[in-house]
């Protein structure tokens, strides 16, 4: 478990630098317009930052499979909420079957 493993200090500082660089990157890319790719780019950078915090600051890389399962289960369930809710709004009006047109 995490108690036994001490993460070396240089990893902490390395992750910290990476997080700052990525923050700068996301602000810089936001000031340019990439059309439809704006949101995916921003979310990808955020995803990488979150992964760094989870893996190293929260020690998940060095933790048991059970901990790793718990860590990612939450995001998986959130994905269910987002995907299934958005799929309603994104497909409104798509199937123009008369029965549903009331």
């Amino acid at each position: 478990m995490t108690a036994q493993h001490t993460v070396p200090l240089k990893i902490y500082f390395g992750v910290f630098i990476a997080l700052c660089v990525l923050t700068g990157l996301t602000v810089w890319t936001a000031k340019h317009d990439y059309g439809a790719l704006n949101t995916p780019i921003a979310l990808s950078i955020a995803g990488v930052k979150a992964l760094l915090v989870i893996m190293f600051f929260m020690h998940v890389k060095y933790s048991s499979k059970l901990t790793q399962l718990f860590a990612f289960a939450g995001f998986f369930w959130l994905a269910i909420l987002l995907v299934f809710t958005l799929q309603d709004f994104m497909t409104r009006g798509m199937l123009n079957v008369y029965f549903f047109k009331t």
């Binding site: 478990m1 108690a3 902490y12 997080l19 923050t23 340019h32 909420l81």
Partner: protein, 229 residues
């Protein structure tokens, strides 16, 4: 958690050994964070639906936020995550002063974050951007429904809930500093520090997603202070 009452190296009566007790406590904190992901997730869901439905209004509303201030706050919170991780490292090494220094530094950065947030909220209040009867985005002459109010409702709900979680964290840190000072943590028994660290990093992760979703939506539209539609 049962462990905080037994940090005087005691084994709680219903555990077989300290290792089981620690693993249980950490798993409990992860389970709690799981629920927090879903809790914030509901608001992210509402945000996703409305941003998908009204992209231009969200862009215009987001352009009223100060991107640079938000970026600085993000760095501040990352600093606080680092100092928290260093505090846990100090606990592993048995350094009482290290723990206290790490916690104090984390609180310091957390406080800066909250102070900046306060000024941001104050500025919104002055510009009539708080949802409710006084909301006024400045659509003089526009007859359409301003979905910008929806954006700001979610902005305050999400950042407000995040700030509330930070305040709770700060209070717990005060208590932890007191315990560290009393010598309650040993290299074999520091579960409270480690589990609180998990909580604090989670709060940081929420902000990592809030920042691009709330601040950077309209950052490319050029005009940051004015009305674009």
């Amino acid at each position: 958690m049962s462990d905080h009452a037994h940090s005087t190296f005691g084994l709680a009566h219903h555990f077989d050994d300290l290792e089981q007790q620690h693993e249980t406590g950490t798993l409990g904190m992860w389970a709690f964070l799981l629920t927090e992901v879903l809790f914030f997730g509901g608001m992210f869901g509402a945000y996703a639906v409305y941003r998908w439905s009204y992209p231009l209004d969200f862009q215009a509303a987001s352009a009223r936020l100060d991107v640079d201030l938000g970026g600085i706050n993000t760095i501040v919170l990352i600093f606080s995550s680092l100092t928290m991780a260093l505090g846990v490292y100090a606990a592993q090494k048995g350094s009482k002063n290290g723990i206290i220094a790490g916690l104090l530094a984390t609180m310091f950065f957390g406080a800066i974050f909250l102070v900046v947030k306060y000024f941001e909220y104050k500025e919104k209040w002055e510009h009539h951007l708080i949802p409710g009867p006084n909301f006024d985005f400045g659509h003089q002459g526009h007859a359409v429904i301003g979905h910008e109010q929806l954006y700001f409702a979610l902005y305050f709900a999400m950042t407000g809930m995040h700030a509330l979680h930070m305040v709770v964290g700060m209070v717990i840190m005060c208590w932890m500093i007191k315990k560290a000072h009393r010598g309650d943590f040993t290299p074999e028994h520091y579960p409270l520090v480690e589990n609180f660290g998990l909580y604090w990093h989670f709060v940081d992760i929420v902000w990592i997603f809030l920042f691009p979703l709330l601040y950077l939506v309209g950052a490319h539209s050029g005009d940051h202070a004015g009305i674009t539609h």
